[in-house]
């Protein structure tokens, strides 16, 4: 019974065959998925970011403003649209409650995306791909990205960031 003390000598009770088989299978499986984690990272092509820097929110805001000023080509629903050259460092700022600027990128080109927030935590969610990365104030989350399909993509915020959280969205446009 699980509510009474075990028989003396319980530690030396041998395992049943079925138990041994199950524990062996489970153990081997655990080792395999443990090895799969680094293997997937090394041989896979789509990993979570591991490049990041500390940066003050003021500096990040300053860099984003400079970036917007340099490459603005228009405006969409009140948000500036910027078209940076291929290979550029590009900035996406999370702020209560919106992502700015709208990024206009080229399919097949590679960019270094700097993602951060200038107030509270936000999280960038790219739709319909459903890819999600954190924007944390004080930290520059650097993602090396290559758009593989063209069109217009929504960005939403999926970290609670205050009462306007659901209204926080943005856009990425990829030209072919």
């Amino acid at each position: 019974m699980s509510v009474t003390s075990p028989q003396p000598g319980w530690w030396n009770t041998p395992l049943h065959k079925e138990e041994k088989i199950w524990i062996t299978i489970a153990f081997v499986w655990c080792i395999l998925i443990t090895l799969a984690m680094p293997a997937w990272h090394l041989f896979g092509t789509q990993n979570a970011a591991s490049e990041y820097y500390k940066i003050s929110t003021e500096d990040f805001g300053f860099l984003t403003d400079a970036f917007i000023e340099k490459y603005t080509v228009g405006e969409d629903s009140g948000v500036p649209v910027v078209a940076p050259p291929a290979g550029a460092d590009i900035f996406l700022r999370g702020q209560q409650w919106g992502w700015d600027p709208v990024l206009k990128l080229k399919q097949g080109s590679t960019y270094r995306l700097h993602l951060s927030s200038v107030d509270v935590n936000h999280s960038m969610s790219l739709l319909p791909m459903n890819m999600n990365f954190k924007a944390v104030p004080g930290w520059d989350n650097v993602l090396t990205i290559t758009p593989t399909s063209s069109g217009s993509f929504n960005l939403i915020c999926n970290e609670f960031c205050g009462i306007g959280h659901h209204s926080m969205n943005g856009k990425i446009i990829v030209d072919s």
């Binding site: 699980s2 319980w10 969409d76 999600n132």
Partner: protein
């Protein structure tokens, strides 16, 4: 000890210490009240996320979501766990509870803390979700409430361990601790470790909110918060697994197949699972990929091994017990003839499946570095934890209640016909809620979001009819789950008020 302070349970033969019994009753009733409150809020949550209904406005949705998290994950679960700890020590060991006054200190601190926090939320001073990531700020009393609650829970764990010492020195049991007590001890060890860690997060945050010290770095907060927040979920796992073994024994007389294996698995929880917490941070800046994969890979999978062991050993010991009763025809007669009409048993079975298959597997999958990119903070995540902590832990606690009522409250369960159905209604509806959340999350629908279509935002977001359907299914199943939860509360309250007294 005055023997007047004890009674003997006519069904189990346990010697029951009356002050322990009163504390178990008080904590369990308080837990159920929080479940009731949280369940009503849960109804508000599903009926708002089901966008065709959109019941609450944005402000109240976020406010009550914060309260739902606190009332359920913090108050309901931990008050019930206090009852489980006192039961697994004083009652199972037929011992007196060490220092009942400290038990009352536990209760008063936890209740006061929970009330303080809840009031701050309702006043609109703490729209921060239970995670309260800085720089979002709540009134400092919100954090103080959490701290008081945690201190209360630590006091409860200390009373538990002191009771183990009392039982040992007074010789109320011989040999090693029973398995249920051993599992509860694992839960209490993890609780003391993680709740003290919680202090490292909440005390500076409280002082910051009070304007005394500067803010902690936002990413450091997230790291420290989840170091405690994730690890503390292992309290629930250990308590739930202990309750599973207890239910196995109470419902069919199951006996652990191999004590060494079961206990080693509990020790694995203590040793390893605390270290998987970085799966909350997989898409964050601030930690290297090597760090993240090490933390979420190696150590997590040894803890998964522990769950795999219990997943075999619990159904296994039930099968052995039922075969001993003569249900030996074929491979599955024992399963067919199992007491499916006993709510303790059906709750056990549904909890095992919900936790293991829906919750456990999604947890391991979403917790890998690459898959997390497409799971982080969308509805997949609440889908995952409504399988673990609701269909799993909550349902297991509901099941054990059907035994606690006669054993500790000495009342026959009221409305036995309703009780028979209750675990099925709650459990299966919660499976559907979880799966439909995971499904909608697969399309990128955000968690913790009042509106998914970008209303009031610069751009419109369209998810399409299939997502509307998933959310409608979640909504309907959510209402059914709330009915199942309400049935549980009604049965419990009715038993206390009008249940037939059992004379001892």
């Amino acid at each position: 000890m005055a023997s007047g302070n004890f009674r003997t349970c006519p069904t189990t033969g346990f010697k029951i210490h009356i002050p322990a019994q009163t504390l178990i009753q008080t904590n369990a009733v308080t837990a159920i009240v929080f479940l009731l409150v949280g369940g009503i809020l849960g109804l508000g949550m599903v009926l708002t996320r089901w966008q065709a209904v959109h019941l609450l406005n944005d402000e109240w949705f976020y406010r009550l979501l914060t309260l739902h998290g606190i009332a359920m994950l913090v108050a309901w679960i931990i008050f019930f766990e206090m009852a489980v700890l006192y039961f697994a020590s004083a009652i199972v060991l037929s011992s007196r509870l060490a220092a009942p006054w400290a038990g009352w200190l536990q209760y008063v601190l936890m209740l006061g803390g929970a009330a303080l926090t809840a009031v701050q939320i309702l006043l609109g001073n703490a729209d921060v979700m239970f995670t309260s990531y800085v720089p979002l700020q709540a009134n400092h009393l919100y954090y103080l409430g959490i701290i008081l609650f945690a201190v209360g829970a630590i006091v409860g764990c200390i009373v538990f361990f002191a009771t183990l010492v009392v039982a040992k020195t007074e010789g109320t049991y011989k040999g090693s601790l029973p398995l249920v007590t051993f599992g509860a001890a694992a839960a209490a060890i993890i609780a003391i470790a993680t709740l003290s860690h919680g202090a490292i997060v909440f005390i500076p945050t409280w002082l910051w909110a009070a304007g005394i010290i500067p803010m902690m770095d936002a990413e450091v907060y997230r790291l420290l918060f989840w170091g405690f927040g994730h690890s503390s979920q292992q309290i629930n796992v250990c308590a739930m697994v202990s309750v599973w073994y207890l239910l196995g024994t109470l419902t069919v007389g199951a006996k652990p197949m191999n004590e060494k294996v079961c206990r080693t698995a509990f020790v694995f929880y203590i040793l390893f699972i605390n270290i998987a917490s970085e799966h909350h941070l997989l898409t964050d800046p601030g930690l290297s990929a090597a760090h993240k994969t090490w933390n979420t890979g190696y150590f997590m999978h040894l803890a998964v091994l522990a769950s795999m062991i219990h997943a075999f050993s619990i159904p296994g010991c039930i099968e052995v017990a039922l075969r001993k009763k003569g249900y030996t025809r074929g491979a599955f007669e024992w399963l067919k003839k199992a007491p499916w009409g006993n709510p303790g048993f059906s709750a056990l079975a549904l909890s095992l499946f919900g936790f293991g298959f829906l919750g456990g597997i999604t947890g391991v999958v979403y917790g890998t570095e690459q898959v997390n990119i497409i799971a982080h903070n969308n509805l997949r995540i609440p889908g995952h934890f409504h399988a673990t902590v609701v269909a799993g832990t909550t349902l297991a606690f509901m099941g054990i209640t059907y035994y606690v009522l006669p054993l500790i409250f000495r009342r026959e369960v009221a409305f036995p016909g309703l009780a028979k159905l209750q675990p099925y209604i709650f459990g299966i509806a919660m499976y559907v809620v979880s799966v439909s959340m995971m499904f909608a999350g697969g399309f990128g629908v955000s968690r913790r979001s009042w509106d998914m279509n970008g209303v009031d935002g610069p751009f419109q977001v369209n998810f399409g009819p299939i997502v509307d359907m998933a959310l409608a299914i979640m909504g309907i199943a959510g209402v059914v789950a709330c009915i199942g939860g309400a049935m549980y509360c009604i049965i419990a309250v009715a038993t206390l008020l009008i249940g037939k007294k059992i004379e001892a």
